[in-house]
Amino acid sequence: MTPPLNEPPPPVVEMRGISLAFPGVKALQDVDFRLFPGEVHALMGENGAGKSTLIKTLTGVHRPDGGQVVLGGDEVAFSSPGEAQHAGISTVYQEVNLCANLTVAENILLGREPRRFGGIDFPAMRKRAGEVLARIGVHIDPGSSLGEHPIAVQQLVAIARAIAVDCRVLVLDEPTSSLDAGEVAELFRIMRVLRDEGVAILFVSHFLDQVYEISDRMTVLRNGSLVGEHLTADVDRRTLIAQMIGRDLGALEAIEDAAEKRHPDGPVLLHASELGRRGAIDPFDLEIRAGEVVGLAGLLGSGRTELARLLFGADRADSGRLVVDGKPLRLRGPRSAIAAGIAFSSEDRKGEGLVADLSIRDNLVLAMQAARGWTRPLPRRTKDQLVEKYLKALDIRPANPDALVRTLSGGNQQKVLLARWLVTEPRLLILDEPTRGIDIGAKAQIQQLVTTLAAEGTAVLFISAELEEVVRISDRIVVLRDRRKIAELDGSVTGVDEVVELIAGGAAPEKVVS
């Protein structure tokens, strides 16, 4: 199945010394890249390492300032994605870039429809589209409108479009980020079929498991430069991560050590008893101490976010009591929670967190300004000091307060969101999926930050789908299943396996922290 990697055929794509600068940024510096027929090649790197830029240089969206692109032995310079497609380079982007208002068949074949008497031959087109879909084992009606299908199917239609032409190179830019496990398996099956047919596949993913499962070879980029090219079998995860983030993994381990050494014994900050909301989460008890990191573990839909929203007053509880600082608190809405020193960083950072079209500065001061009331504007000096402090503390890039949040990478947006709440100096910080969709380096920084905050006395409620992360940084872990709190574990002695067992429904005894 795997092609012979020791004696590879000549590469189908060879990029030599590619450089590209955007205003103020050197996006790519002297990058070499090779792609062989019949291989799945993973392009690895953090957010902002230049993966997307390199791909866009290959697919004709950007033109390099320097270097050459050789395709099948001939030097090429594409001026549009159309030209690249013509030459056999097809791309499937992270967001489905198709037209939901057209039919599946049109989305697959638009621009190269079969024609008869000068007009489009729709029956022939549906037939062709059906054949292409069948080739990758997708059975949907080509005449149906694309918008009717779920995103995962649309993604497969995008792949069908990519291979409907004589495609030598297939570029998949984070195709799995919106797919569930079964859909990913389906995608990989299709990728293997195409690879065995001799298609060269360039694959980008943030999920290391997937990269190791599917790829034969990988190229690692960092800060727009080439770090190395390896056979996947030759490089272990540790080395890969070290190459990607360009620093020792010591940072990650230090976090773990810190969490293990700490025994938070601050005063009880928040105490919820029998707090619940019908249809969202069953009544639960929860105690959070100052300086403590409490992790919430559970599957999607287990009630993680719902619990957090109750504590923040985003939803009203219909049973139970909440005591903050020994005084009962009735949450009438987020405003009263904020007044009590509770901050909630939403999982949907674009929809519920940041204002994408405002600058970093404006986003940072939003929450603080809201707390002060609109009648007392913050003086510019104070703003600048705050912004400078947090830009530096959180290592937000670019460190330009006037940059629009929309233009930042996911990891940096998350940091801005965090900073926005930190500005208000909350005593309880609720973080819902703060590390989702961001790269390893930024993840480590955010985890580090959580640990630091806790050490300074802030209580943190940490929600993440990644159990390893929860287990690593939490002092105490609350496990949820089916909208119910089922266990509370001591974070320093609990392993991932134990939590998985509980979530999966195994009958582990309930352990309560001493």
Partner: protein
């Protein structure tokens, strides 16, 4: 199309709603007024609105691509002016026709290029085009110029007899030919499908390797061409050229297209919808003239209400 309807009824729902509205309005008229339910009343709908049908067809292209063309009314006026003064100066009719169509298409091309090259909203560019064309009318003459050319008058007054004693003008034939051509281009050609793709998602269309530039500029050329053709039809209808002809007609065209179910955001709609929209507007006008006691401004009020209703319906459909 009918085979698709049961499977994806939602796609055709707005057009069907407009057709139903037309039938309803016509039914109401037939029930209330003697002589309303005659073939000639229907024929008159087409005769009196032939130019608007052509405008709506061109406008459908632009709106489908996600743009808007505010210049069409002024281009109609400019076309009547060029026609009338050209004929007055003794130009042969074919030369006048070619000149008018060239002027309209060129204006469309220029606006399309500006929109594309400088990445300016179509609203602003075509607003500028609207002022430009309107102003050019008065450069030619500030007076109304009547058309006395024999050939032109003969064509204008020629009646084509249909079975049942109903007569239509050449204008109607031309308008229906334009609708047929527009349908063919939109549904059967690569250009037409790309118009839909660009309206659905321009960035997707670009990344799919489609010729978005050609389409984005092309729709304004088509709209310009349709406007100048509509201007010729309007000259035949009014037998005069005047700088104050067709004031606000661009809004009637947009209203007809939107009432016909075409999404202002682009990507969804049909030429037939625009035709149905024009017929609805025409029927309302006819109703009010049959009533006799109502001011013609009631037409505007009804159109306003209809527009609001249709836009609200579209909103909910998009949200769904």
């Amino acid at each position: 199309m009918t085979t698709l309807a049961p499977r994806v009824p939602s796609r055709f729902l707005p057009v069907l709603a407009t057709v139903a509205l037309f039938v309803l309005a016509f039914g109401v008229g037939s029930a209330r007024y003697d002589g309303f339910a005659s073939g000639q009343v229907i024929a008159n709908l087409f005769i009196d609105n032939a130019f608007l049908i052509v405008l709506a067809a061109g406008m459908t292209f632009v709106i489908l691509s996600g743009g808007i063309d505010l210049s069409v009314g002024s281009v109609v006026a400019l076309s009547t002016m060029v026609t009338a003064s050209g004929l007055q100066a003794g130009w042969p009719v074919p030369l006048v026709v070619v000149a008018v169509l060239l002027i309209g298409s060129t204006l469309g091309l220029l606006m399309g290029l500006v929109i594309h090259k400088f990445d300016i909203q179509p609203f602003i560019v075509t607003l500028a085009g609207m002022f430009l064309a309107r102003g050019l009318c008065f450069v030619i003459s500030v007076e109304s110029v009547s058309i006395k050319d024999r050939t032109f008058r003969d064509v204008a007054t020629a009646a084509i007899e249909l079975p049942g004693g109903v007569t239509i003008t050449y204008n109607v034939v031309i308008a229906l030919l334009v609708v047929a051509a527009a349908m063919y281009v939109l549904h059967r050609t690569r250009f037409g499908r790309t118009v839909y793709a660009v309206g659905g998602s321009e960035s997707s269309a670009l990344l799919m390797g489609l010729p978005t530039t050609r389409v984005k500029v092309g729709v304004y050329v088509i709209s310009g061409l349709c406007s100048s053709l509509a201007g010729l039809l309007f000259s035949l209808y009014m037998l005069s050229g005047y700088g104050l002809h067709a004031v606000g007609m661009e809004l009637d065209a947009i209203a007809a297209v939107v009432i016909g179910g075409t999404l202002l955001a682009g990507g969804v709609g049909y030429v037939l919808g625009g035709l149905a929209g024009v017929l609805v507007l025409g029927t309302i006008q006819t109703l009010i003239s049959f009533q006799g006691t109502l001011s013609s401004w009631w037409t505007k009020i009804v159109i306003g209400v209809l527009l609001l209703v249709f836009i609200a319906v579209q909103r909910t459909m998009v949200r769904r």
